[in-house]
Symmetry: C2
Subunit: 293 residues, 2 copies
């Protein structure tokens, strides 16, 4: 089945035509932040135009924030300034197609579980580390797809630690997200650098090494919470930070092993899908909607 | 269906005959700690004797530690000094009945979900706070029943905090279990008191109040982790500490509300079943085994 999907980000929205797990075409446009009507129209217009070239069988939209997939409502997004938006219903009404609304990180979980690094695993976690941090949890062979699951970025790993955008203290995201790594490095050195740049300097720049290690330890603490509550045989790391590869994974494996006592020690690997994970996963949600799942 | 069940604890083993969720009779005997053959015989003899009075349709045994319900193997118990013991297979072989092996806290989850405080809830957690701390997790209307799930007691809530029996630092159990509360109070005051005694003194004894508050904050941190990863509409508190009632629940609700930012705030209530939860839950596992689930 061919699907037309949208992966809405805080800055850009990716629009794609997907056949099974293959991206036939895609385009990236700025997200109309705060204007839900414009976003609704943008996605509906894209689906209509995709139908002139393809026989589209279903459609889906994935968004950040709190999403209720059962009702198709985007409950809340801080960055996109919306609450209680029925995108799922709008998408179905505007297109007449089977339609789904999902969480962007849950979608990445579907992509990795059905077609990527977590394929064949009954119990796994897909942790997406980018501007924020969230996880998709696979339990008993299925991605858990409900509101608020996997918000590991807002779980506390350091009591009284740095403040988070949501008002918490010491949340994982406030220490280990790509944004937090850059921010911490700048606060420490007075120099501006991205997390990607910092990851290339850890052998030569002690400040970079210290900031990176702190993020790694915090991620290990988050994975420790996951393994204590809902242990996995496999933890897949995705998102922008995962592009650092073994510079991230090798110390992370060490830190997780050192930290866990009686819990299962998971294999830790990089994601298969990068920036396309949301679209590939959205296509799975669309196909599930078409099948009435 | 009538079942004969055993709830094996670190000190005592409870043997019961259960019809549906009702305990027809029960007896408590010392656990033969470290002697798995004696424990095997004890349970088999009990089932045989129960069959002289009742038409027993199935049997189950629940134990602490790490348990693999799928294979019926008690993988590890620190307190009972065993590893890789096939109690499930032994029980089936010794009795000829449909037989199950389960985790004692998971069993409490079955009891509360099917017959107690969590009845009718699709997503809930049953947190048992006694000598140790562990949780049973209910996801999408089912108790998650697999090895290592819900080991919240060994999740870190205070980096570098007090040492845990498993070698970790700052585990929830090392701060908030009944044993830890008593230990902390004694270390602070030089006086011996149980957690139950301490709970009655918090209005008059500032040391008791401080130790209690620390445990409450740690429990709130553990519930915060749960709500971040696998949010519930309801958290049921069981185990010995829950007998403190509102002295525990009221400040715990406050602490959880203060701590959570974007996560769902769960209702927090006491368990219905006390010391019988393990037997009532074991009866559910036995009945499921008889139904081939």
């Amino acid at each position: 089945m061919i699907t037309a999907v949208a992966d809405v980000g805080g800055t850009d929205t990716k629009l794609g035509v997907v056949e099974d797990a293959e991206l036939l075409s895609s385009t990236t446009v700025p997200t109309p932040v705060g204007d839900v009507t414009a976003l609704r129209r943008l996605v509906a217009d894209f689906v209509a135009s995709a139908r002139t070239d393809h026989r589209i069988g279903a459609t889906a939209m994935v968004v950040p924030g709190i999403v209720d997939p059962a009702t198709g409502v985007a409950v809340h997004s801080e960055n996109l300034h919306w609450s209680e938006v029925p995108f799922g219903r709008w998408l179905a009404a505007d297109t007449g197609l089977p339609a789904a609304l999902g969480h962007d990180v849950t979608a990445a979980g579907y992509a990795e579980h059905r077609h990527g690094a977590a394929r064949g695993h009954a119990h796994a976690a897909v942790v997406v580390v980018g501007t924020g941090i969230a996880a998709s949890l696979i339990e008993d062979g299925r991605v858990i797809n409900r509101a608020g699951v996997g918000e590991i970025g807002h779980s506390v790993v350091q009591e009284g630690g740095p403040s988070c955008v949501r008002g918490g203290r010491g949340c994982l995201e406030a220490i280990a997200s790509a944004a937090a790594i850059g921010r911490t490095y700048t606060a420490r050195t007075g120099r501006v650098a991205s997390a990607a740049e910092i990851s290339t300097r850890i052998d030569t720049d002690p400040d970079a090494a210290a900031v990176w290690d702190r993020a790694v330890q915090a991620l290990a603490a988050g994975i420790g919470q996951l393994q204590s509550l809902l242990p996995s045989e496999l933890v897949v790391i995705g998102g922008g930070l995962s592009l650092a590869g073994e510079v991230l994974f090798a110390p992370l494996r060490d830190a997780v092993e050192r930290r866990l006592t009686m819990q299962r020690i998971p294999r830790i690997v990089g994601a298969r899908f990068g920036a396309t994970a949301g679209m590939i996963g959205a296509a799975e949600l669309a196909r599930d909607a078409a099948k009435g799942r």
